[in-house]
């Protein structure tokens, strides 16, 4: 089975246009992102040492990436010592083969799954389906997405694009329920009953991982609903797929990440459940545990010194919720399991620029920098975006020849790339931009830019650079 990402000919710009026209979708996403945004600010504001935690998070991840081979070997050793098995998968195809093989060995035709973007990335469900194995998604949102035959649109809230009356109609039809209200509690109850019987008979569970501790082999799934507990506790066999970048060196690092992640993602002091398991434990939970370590392009990201920080990502989705472009276009426009600002930098690096859809993603941003400011591990997303734009242009040059060298985008991006490398240059340019943009701002939005940039604004309004940036405001306050 070919699990390479399809060469999708549709670019971000093309699909963003049609999503912009979908007002229901825009309303759902708008409501959701605004709600989470405000809550996150409160949750983060509560911690006086937030900046110190972010710094420690970044340093930890940087250390992991710079010694990734050694940490992986240490993790492997620890997991085996704790009674687990470790598998290495160079790409998605490899991982799918390993996992379907393990499931087939157990002779089952159904497995229960807890939400994992990494399994979506390699299209594991399709691979299992091809072998006659049904993977039941057990997160409420994933279940909704699966029943609708849809694609997730948000890392954290994959069904953010569906409102409750749409969900009610879907449940009535697919779960054969005659009377159902559209109250969230009733919808959740319907899902609870349907899934509980499946959990109880499940022989194999499949999960992703938020973190894995090299020193002890402990793997963690962070969640809200309890389906993560079900999937990692009830089945006899547990198979966990994790990207090789998810490692943290030791337990102590949870001091940092268990504060950064919940507050950045669900905007809570702590999410309802965190599940930590270390290999297998006698008489408690699965007696067989397999950890599958996935590369699938991650080592390419590692090789790029500017792009490397992309691998620090803990998938909190804070950057999505502050992104003006994401808010207007929704997740599907990114044509990837990784939407929003993180998707705009991760997808093209994982897939390569041969994929025109992926190559258009570094342009899916107005470079406003909000994502960088909220990122709990301080990934400089604008810097990586601009760096990638430069690389896209270089790639096109190799393919397209000399004409592109004088192309405005090419020159502009080289210039921007330099700007983002220095905070001073960035701030100077921002000030210049504020003066320059006066010519184009109308009703609080930039809706038409001159020349080459017209292509960009013809499908979306850009938020003008605010009169006072966050940095300036902060500077004034101190």
């Amino acid at each position: 089975m070919n699990n390479k990402p399809a060469l999708n000919p549709i670019t971000f710009e093309q699909s963003a246009g049609s999503y912009l026209a979908d007002t229901q979708l825009r309303r759902n996403i708008g409501h959701a992102t605004q709600t989470i945004r405000a809550k996150r600010a409160t949750a983060v504001g509560e911690l006086p040492d937030w900046e110190e935690l972010r710094e420690a998070g970044r340093l930890t991840k940087e250390r992991v990436m710079n010694n990734l081979d050694e940490y992986l070997l240490q993790l492997e050793e620890s997991v085996i010592k704790a009674g687990g098995h470790v598998h290495w998968a160079a790409d998605g195809e490899d991982a799918n083969r390993i996992i379907t093989g393990l499931v087939k060995e157990k002779g089952v035709t159904e497995v229960v799954k807890v939400k994992s973007i990494t399994t979506d990335e390699i299209k594991l469900n399709d691979a299992l389906e091809n072998e006659g194995i049904h993977a039941l998604e057990t997160d409420l949102a994933e279940l909704i997405v699966q029943l609708a035959g849809d694609e997730p649109s948000h890392i954290l809230v994959p069904a953010i694009h569906k409102n409750r009356s749409e969900i009610r109609d879907l449940f009535k039809e697919k779960l054969n329920i005659e009377h159902l209200s559209d109250k969230p509690a009733d919808l959740a109850e319907a899902a609870r009953l349907y899934l509980r019987k499946n959990f109880l008979k499940a022989k194999v569970g499949i999960s992703g991982a938020n973190f894995a501790v090299a020193e002890t082999g402990t793997v963690v799934v962070v969640e809200s609903e309890g389906n993560g507990r079900m999937c990692t506790t009830l089945p006899d066999t547990l198979i966990t797929l994790m990207g090789i970048e998810k490692i943290i060196p030791k337990w102590q690092d949870f001091e940092v990440f268990m504060q950064l992640l919940p507050r950045s993602s669900t905007a809570e002091r702590m999410n309802p459940y965190n599940n930590f398991w270390t290999g297998i434990s006698d008489g408690d939970g699965p007696q067989e545990f397999h950890l599958v370590l996935l590369d699938n392009g991650r080592t390419k990201v590692l090789a790029d010194e500017t792009g490397r920080q992309t691998l620090f990502c803990i998938r909190c989705s804070a950057c999505l919720n502050v992104c003006p472009v994401y808010e207007r276009t929704g997740g599907h426009a990114y044509h990837s399991v990784y939407p929003g600002p993180i998707g705009a930098i991760l997808t093209p690096q994982l897939r390569g620029f041969e994929d025109p859809s992926a190559a258009s993603l570094p342009y899916a941003s107005s470079l406003c920098g909000a994502c960088y400011e909220v990122c709990p591990v301080k990934i400089n997303i604008p810097e990586v975006l601009v760096h990638l734009r430069g690389k896209v242009v270089d790639y096109k040059n190799e393919k397209g020849g000399i004409r592109h060298k004088t192309d405005t985008i090419h020159i502009g991006m080289k210039f921007m790339a330099r700007t983002f490398q220095s905070r001073n240059r960035y701030e100077r340019l921002q000030r210049m931009g504020k003066i320059g943009q006066k010519l184009f701002v109308k009703d609080g939005a930039i809706s038409r830019l001159p020349g080459e940039l017209a292509k960009w604004t013809s499908i979306r309004d850009i938020k003008p650079i605010p009169k006072q940036t966050f940095r300036e405001w902060w500077g004034d306050r101190q």
Partner: protein
């Protein structure tokens, strides 16, 4: 087993790709990472809350998750548990091995006690149990979190998963101020026992439907925490 040689093939490919990406000369062992000095940790690792403050903060924060917290004296425990059962109509109560007998000493005949030891309860028995009663390893005041790690009186993970109502007893001395204080103890416990750890912050919830927090998708929909006050 699946793969065999294909597996180790991928292992070598990935490690080689990493070494090339990092421009490393040698093939390396784990020695390097073991001798690295710790990263700089300038965040708070200890709180300066008094025991009294920790207790209040813990109760307040657990309640904010729509759980119920009560602070009680040691002597009251048996009666309190009996009265929770009768008020909530709990007819069957699962308990792990190692539970303090005092906790279940006042239960009347209307509550059937389901013991997980010596014979472990089946999935069906647990699924039909109305409630479960456990102790805890630690609490975290700052986040309103209870932490279970399979120690005595806590039992297997499945116990606190299938019944719809979780009654959790914790002693004031077990409540830490901020998360790092709890992590340090967990670090030691995991290295010693290797048992799974579950952090619980409020009842099960989802925000998946238009971002409304809805209680109880899969785990227990009700959480009742009893804090036993430290003897002064």
């Amino acid at each position: 087993m699946v793969g065999g040689s294909a597996m180790s093939g991928s292992k070598n490919i990935i490690l080689e790709r990493i070494r090339q990406a990092l421009k490393k000369e040698d093939s390396g062992t784990t020695d390097d990472i073991l001798t690295l000095p710790d990263i700089e940790r300038s965040y708070e690792q200890q709180s300066n809350l008094s025991d009294e403050q920790k207790l209040h903060l813990f109760a307040e924060r657990v309640n904010e998750y729509r759980a119920i917290t009560e602070v009680i004296d040691e002597e009251e425990i048996g009666e309190r548990i009996q009265s929770i059962c009768s008020v909530s109509g709990i007819k069957s109560l699962a308990v792990p091995g190692g539970i303090e007998e005092k906790w279940v000493s006042a239960l009347d005949s209307g509550v059937r006690l389901l013991r997980d030891e010596p014979e472990p309860l089946t999935k069906e028995e647990l699924n039909n149990a109305a409630a479960v009663l456990t102790g805890a390893f630690l609490g975290v005041a700052q986040t309103g979190t209870i932490i279970l790690n399979g120690g005595p009186g806590q039992g297997r993970r499945i116990l606190t998963l299938l019944p719809d109502f979780h009654i959790c007893v914790i002693r004031q001395e077990q409540i830490t101020g901020i998360l790092p204080e709890a992590i340090i103890q967990l670090d030691m416990a995991v290295k010693e026992s290797g048992k799974p750890v579950t952090m619980i912050s409020g009842p099960s919830a989802t925000s998946d439907i238009e971002l409304n927090r809805v209680e109880g998708v899969h785990g227990p929909r009700r959480l009742h925490v009893l804090v036993i006050k430290q003897k002064s």
